[in-house]
């Protein structure tokens, strides 16, 4: 269990902001921090990992104090057993995939974990290649594996997928879920993608100006969760066209494009690029084996 009580005055482009966060993350949970840029999400992860010191407050992880301003306790980043994945991959360009992972090993740590991780995120074919010969998605798989070499209990993911295209994101989301379960991690993700959040997380914290604005299950926070409409997805509007007295709205859901009829009273609030929830009663769809 992670208990955070963080106070920090942050300087940003918009001026000074006072971050005051209190949250408790259960062991094994997958939690997402959601909110505008500059809200304090990355600073929260940096304080948890020891890269930034809070002005006040404490951090305890599974009963051990990592930071306590009053008791002058402040573990160094390396003592905190955290895996951290950033949006840019931060791989060593002069080392192969395998060497990048081995470099992260602790002294006296058995090398078997490297082989295990290479198997889990399917890097066997790529293990002797250098990073600059890999695609964005492949590099991010290497970064994910490297973050787990020292077998951390906590995995921090700071918008790891935002530079990737949709198909690649979906693949990486699968790998992230797989390592989260296999290595029994407590994972904290920063993401803006509602579909991604619904797919991955158990709990969401919406952060605004350094405070928790709302928290809850992703289904409750993003609207349709408690509805009796069981046939539901999230997607992105790719087109809106008037067709007589109604509108035809084209929505990309995963790799598929679907068309939905919308009344003018709804269509006028939509524009291309909007993230939307799509729902219907489960009684309409027909199923046919292909």
């Amino acid at each position: 269990m992670i208990v955070l009580n963080l106070h920090k005055t942050l300087q940003s482009a918009q001026g000074t902001m006072s971050l005051q966060l209190e949250m408790t993350v259960q062991k094994g949970q997958f939690v997402t921090l959601f909110g505008e840029s500059g809200a304090g999400k990355t600073s929260t992860l940096r304080m948890l990992s020891g890269l930034m010191d809070p002005d006040k407050g404490y951090i305890t992880v599974n009963g051990t104090t990592w930071f306590d301003k009053d008791r002058k306790i402040n573990l160094r980043p390396r003592q905190r057993h955290i895996g951290y994945v950033f949006q840019d991959y931060a791989l060593f360009p002069n080392m192969t995939v395998r060497q990048n992972l081995e470099f992260a090993l602790d002294k006296n740590q058995p090398r078997t974990i490297v082989d295990d991780l290479i198997g889990t995120v399917e890097l066997r074919e790529l293990q002797h290649r250098k990073p600059d010969t890999l695609s964005g998605g492949q590099k991010q798989r290497v970064a994910l594996a490297r973050a787990l070499v020292r077998q951390p209990e906590i995995l921090l993911l700071d918008e790891p997928l935002s530079a990737l295209d949709s198909a690649m994101r979906q693949k990486l989301q699968q790998y992230i879920l797989e390592v989260h379960r296999k290595y029994e991690l407590t994972t904290i993700l920063i993401s803006h993608d509602v579909g991604e959040i619904l797919k991955l997380s158990d709990r969401v914290y919406e952060i605004q100006h350094g405070r928790i604005l709302r928290q809850g299950s992703p289904e409750t926070l993003f609207g349709l969760g408690q509805s009796s409409a069981k046939f539901r997805f999230t997607g992105e509007v790719t087109g809106i066209r008037k067709a007589g007295v109604v509108y035809i709205v084209t929505i990309r859901i995963g790799n598929d494009l679907v068309k939905v009829i919308a009344d003018p009273s709804e269509a006028e609030f939509l524009q291309t690029g909007d993230k939307v929830a799509v729902a219907s009663k489960a009684f309409n769809p027909v199923i046919r084996k292909i």
């Binding site: 349709l224 408690q226 509805s227 009796s228 409409a229 069981k230 007589g244 007295v245 109604v246 009829i261 009344d263 003018p264 009273s265 709804e266 729902a279 009663k281 489960a282 009684f283």
Partner: protein, 132 residues
């Protein structure tokens, strides 16, 4: 989407399905849902709930008590009708508020629908969405 606030007056569950009765003013709506009080904590008698249904799922009838299987019925009077080439958008004023229906223009003409026509809106119970 047509959306009205009501409260639950009856719940009948069997094999994971439930038929929920919701009262909106004097109108009773029934909805069949793939949920039960065990799977959805908000399914409790007297709880407030939204009754929602899409405009394209609203059937319109003229005349008194047509003999059809649809039990969700709301009487009202047409306040606006916009006719397109294929489809028409009918707005009707009822005791629970405005209901919008999208039907074929052919049907609208066959029923001679115009402003002030008295109509009954009907919605199949499997098209009614409930949301707390």
């Amino acid at each position: 989407m047509n959306s009205f606030a009501g409260h639950i007056t009856d719940i009948r569950s069997s094999d994971g399905l439930s038929v929920i009765t919701v009262k909106v003013n004097a109108v009773r709506f029934k909805a069949v849902v793939i949920d039960s009080p065990e799977t959805a904590s908000w399914l409790v008698t007297d709880n407030p709930v939204q009754v929602q249904f899409k405009e394209t799922e609203v059937v319109l009838a003229t005349g008194e008590n047509p003999a059809v299987s649809l039990q969700n019925r709301v009487k009202g009077r047409i306040s606006a009708i916009e006719k397109g080439e294929l489809l028409s958008r009918v707005v009707m004023r009822t005791d629970i508020g405005n209901i919008v229906s999208i039907i074929s223009t052919d049907a609208a003409e066959q029923l001679a629908l115009q402003e002030n026509t008295e109509v009954t809106a009907m919605i199949k119970l499997n098209e009614v969405i409930l949301a707390p």
